[in-house]
Symmetry: C2
Subunit: 331 residues, 2 copies
């Protein structure tokens, strides 16, 4: 197995969604590895991208504000890049049901834009797509592996699945090497905490840091796995440096699944602030909820040697410490 | 089980792609059942829609030339319809790889247009979507049932899968009743024979009727199942009249699978014209070929009582007779 970290020294890479949560954390790792890092981000308000996220590395990355939906722009920007971490996306499930077209444009059509740009202007590039476990929908069995049917429960999941599949077809048919990492719930510093439409964990962390009350929907017995952002970024680095995953979509899950209620208790314990209350499920959220979910990442581990190493307690401690220091900049 | 044929007497229905191959055959059945039939078709050249297809029933249907990509148009047209047979699509796999955006617009985005029109203007409607077995890709096992992974080998398959999934999500979340019929290779009178970019069977029938040579790619040993268009239309009628399939995507396969080479021999035998030659696979087609495929339709049979009844010999005989009489109108 190659030294995937050394691979990036001097390497021209691009991160779409590079000012977002995972993208900016990945950028930090890549500049430390000596990569030539270009961040492409549309900075659409509410989506999570922010110049705050690259505070301290501004001088070591090139920021290009652009929308990946723009074909001519992407045709230009992809040129000369050797690895593209394709993380730009609309993340909110609720928004996708209110405004399905915008979700389609960003999560589905724009992926074709990126890939067509590569096919026509940089066919030798490697593209690593940020997929999501959301596409599986309500699981038939646990843990969920890649043999599980893809059966999204919302428009966001459908569009993310299509965006992922374009990458695999462009790999198989056009030789634009690509793979997809189906990420489980990811958390850590720089995640969006401004509103609660991008999953609950960022919102919960904010409320706890503010010493406010959290609402747990239902009985809180559903289980989930969580991956700390540094572990997720390590998965991207490995996938980008290796051809082992080309043409595949693989799960990137967390260490141990945990009950929703236990996660909240752990957060409150780690923070020593905040409190929780049990409430009924809001109808809009219940309609697209998938119950318990956790992923089996065996395939990706075997292909790349990846292992998540950050325990939930440690990850939450670091995340809460980050927002204790920086919350005002993220509101 | 309700009398699904009686269900349509006086019933206002719409067929998108209604001047196309399956759409127009379905229209013929529906007018005979006394339905109030509106056909919506964009009449895009090369896609298969033609006024020839409704010759003899012109006075018993309402034709509205429109493109399902047009939201405001669809908002109006769906009103008052009780069943929509949603068959409009771009069918060519090869075209989808040459011009992926058009395929996306027609097979993916436009399905959202139809469904948003229903959600906002006619939420009580039932929508039956024409899915395709193409979305399964290269099978892991045969016959392929609905538990098989969806793993398209081309852009067309990805977009058709997304279009299908929108129907299921709109059923589950918004209550716009919908289901998808994953059709296997369909053949019969009124199928496109003008060019060879929409699958091989129409093209072969034309060549045989013209007493020309057919090219079989490779050794012709791959197996496929075929459904005669009247049997496919019977599946649509059953799905439209029943709520048994709501929220589901089900296979609609043929009677018996047959080797490609044996199919050609049967065609030539039935027609008593034409001849065949074995050639190498063209690279562009090989890249998206899926090898042997045939479907298991048990689920749909159990849900609706549907059975295909037309043997391949009988169906080919009727199809060849049709084109012997009408070929000039289809060139």
């Amino acid at each position: 197995m190659i030294d995937y970290r050394a691979f990036y020294a001097g390497r021209p890479v691009m991160i779409t969604g590079g000012l977002g949560f995972i993208g900016s954390n990945l950028a930090r790792l890549l500049v430390d590895l000596g990569a030539d890092v270009m961040l492409v981000d549309s900075l659409i308000p509410d989506y999570g991208g922010s110049l705050e996220n690259i505070r301290g590395i501004e001088d070591r990355v090139r920021v290009n504000v652009a929308d990946i939906r723009q074909q001519t722009t992407m045709n230009y920007l992809v040129q000369g890049r050797e690895v593209i971490f394709n993380l730009a996306g609309q993340v909110s499930h609720i928004d996708s049901m209110r405004d399905p077209y915008t979700d389609l444009e960003i999560n589905c059509r724009s992926q074709m834009t990126v890939l067509e740009a590569c096919r026509r202007n940089n066919p030798g590039v490697k593209v690593v797509f940020a997929g999501t476990r959301q596409i599986y929908g309500k699981p038939d069995y646990l843990p969920v592996d890649e043999n599980h049917l893809v059966r999204p429960t919302d428009v966001n999941g459908i569009n993310k699945a299509a965006g992922e599949q374009y990458h695999l077809v462009y790999n198989n048919v056009f030789g634009v090497r690509g793979c997809s990492l189906r990420l489980t719930n990811c958390y850590g510093p720089r995640q969006l905490v401004k509103h609660n439409r991008q999953g609950f964990i960022g919102w919960f962390i904010r409320r706890i840091v503010e010493d406010q009350e959290i609402e747990i929907f239902g009985d809180g017995m559903q289980m989930r796995d969580f991956v700390f952002v540094d572990d997720a970024c390590d998965a991207f680095l490995r996938a980008g440096a290796s051809d082992a995953c080309n043409g595949q979509a693989v799960n990137v899950g967390g260490l141990e699944p945990i009950k929703h209620k236990d996660l909240v208790e752990l957060m409150i314990e780690v923070a020593n602030t905040g409190r929780r209350r049990y409430v009924e499920w809001p109808a809009e959220k219940k309609a697209i909820d998938i119950g318990s979910f956790y992923a089996d990442s065996t395939r990706f581990r075997e292909l790349t040697g990846w292992e998540p190493t950050t325990t939930l307690r440690e990850g939450l401690t670091r995340t809460i410490a980050f927002y204790r220091e920086h919350l005002q900049r993220y509101l």
